[in-house]
Symmetry: C2
Subunit: 299 residues, 2 copies
Amino acid sequence: MKCRMCGNPGEIKLIRHNIILCRDDFFIFIKRQVRKGIYETKMFSRNDRIMVAVSGGKDSLVCWLLLEELGYTTFGLHIDLGIGEFSKISREKVEKFAKKRRLNYEILNIKDILGFGIEELSKGQRTCSICGLIKRYWLNRYAVEHGFTAIATGHNLNDESAALLGNILHWQIGYISRQYPVLPAIHPKLVKRVKPLYRLEENEIRLYADLHNIEYINFSCPMRKGATSPVYKSALNFIEKNSPGTNHNFLFQFLEKYRYYFKKEGKLNLKECSNCGMPTTEEVCSYCKFLFKEQKHAV
Amino acid sequence: MKCRMCGNPGEIKLIRHNIILCRDDFFIFIKRQVRKGIYETKMFSRNDRIMVAVSGGKDSLVCWLLLEELGYTTFGLHIDLGIGEFSKISREKVEKFAKKRRLNYEILNIKDILGFGIEELSKGQRTCSICGLIKRYWLNRYAVEHGFTAIATGHNLNDESAALLGNILHWQIGYISRQYPVLPAIHPKLVKRVKPLYRLEENEIRLYADLHNIEYINFSCPMRKGATSPVYKSALNFIEKNSPGTNHNFLFQFLEKYRYYFKKEGKLNLKECSNCGMPTTEEVCSYCKFLFKEQKHAV
């Protein structure tokens, strides 16, 4: 079992590529995949000011580390969602990671903004979608207000493949047509969103994190019960076990060729929210609608 | 728990429709779904001579029974594949079913035609795809030679949904664009192929079979190990358990609307095989190529 690249003893098997690598060449492989993704999708340049959305999980921390290693200018933003112990540990992981490597970062506390944490959301709501809405809104608003030109998230190949499957099973043509590792800044107040790790599998990222002694939060949010995306991921993992490379081919062939089949209905027409001024397709943005609803409940 | 239709005690729950029915109204529901499918896709008319491909499993036997109950002219063709005990029992189930109901049928024995059964196929070949090739070829050839105008198979909603998923995961655009419950007779020697049960779930068909005391073979072919379609079906079943109706919506929205997104590359150009005269896209059809290869091995 020799490393395919250098001939030294190999220790890491990449099943979908059917190769074995030594540790050093695995690191080179990972960086090469990320660099390839950045170049092929024209994700960003050295002139971009990149804000990395760091949750404290392995993916976003590895994303931050890799962008630094590749020489980009980065800044980490962590949103403290106010979900008890989960949020407390997540925050600690981010702070420890950043301080150890002397990276610039900030913590945005949802309780300071809303007056309550995700934990205290009105019952009966679909918590994951509300939480996603709040995170997307504040990531973008923070980036706009602080002059960042790209928001990087840790979404990996399995995340993207599962999202694509979910959108296809429900024929969400709008979402399908826009699915790409780069979501362009189609409005002056919308910052470009990028996914530098889209070419890496979850287990490759976990291994990279472990071999770099990155401490990350390794349990899921306690409130995510009932979310659908883990179901699509599990279904795809099951298929992947039977035919390795399925996720890879499904996603990459879509990105390279078949997404153009879905182009027709993919155009968004953005204006500014009459309440907060941030971009939206409607008169009032979803975030402000949510706030009004919460206030009504509070009265 | 009353029947949604008549108010009498209900005993059957249809999860994807979220309704409870009594036994009689379940039978009406099943027939209505099949009739709806036949009408909506212009599958065939009373003038068609329908050959039902009966394997001895629940789906094809229920298909045969329902077409009879709906007043169509049917004939059953069973292909004895020569796979030991599995083929023997399958054949017995078909003969018993037909004799009990005085239905016309015939048995086509692959061993008589080829000189060997599927069981004795050259090692190392992908048995399921070869077996499928032989079945498709002889179903069509028999129907052509005996003047049938439609070949009906027992494919159900789960079969079709799993096939669609497999084709999408591998972006098989040609297959995707042609997937429909009616495959038209696009050549004088190609008989129309239809799937009257495409609106019914596997468990609904099993229940219909059991309530009608149909004896069917209830174990899978012993040679199917390694086939991919059961994997897609299991993956979809897993998703379906979490969100009932996924298979239904995925398939029906595709058939009604989204299949048109894939139309471009779906045209087939058929000519006649230079060896046997049956339709093919190439000079020699896949069946004859397979025969030549087998003979070479035999020499």
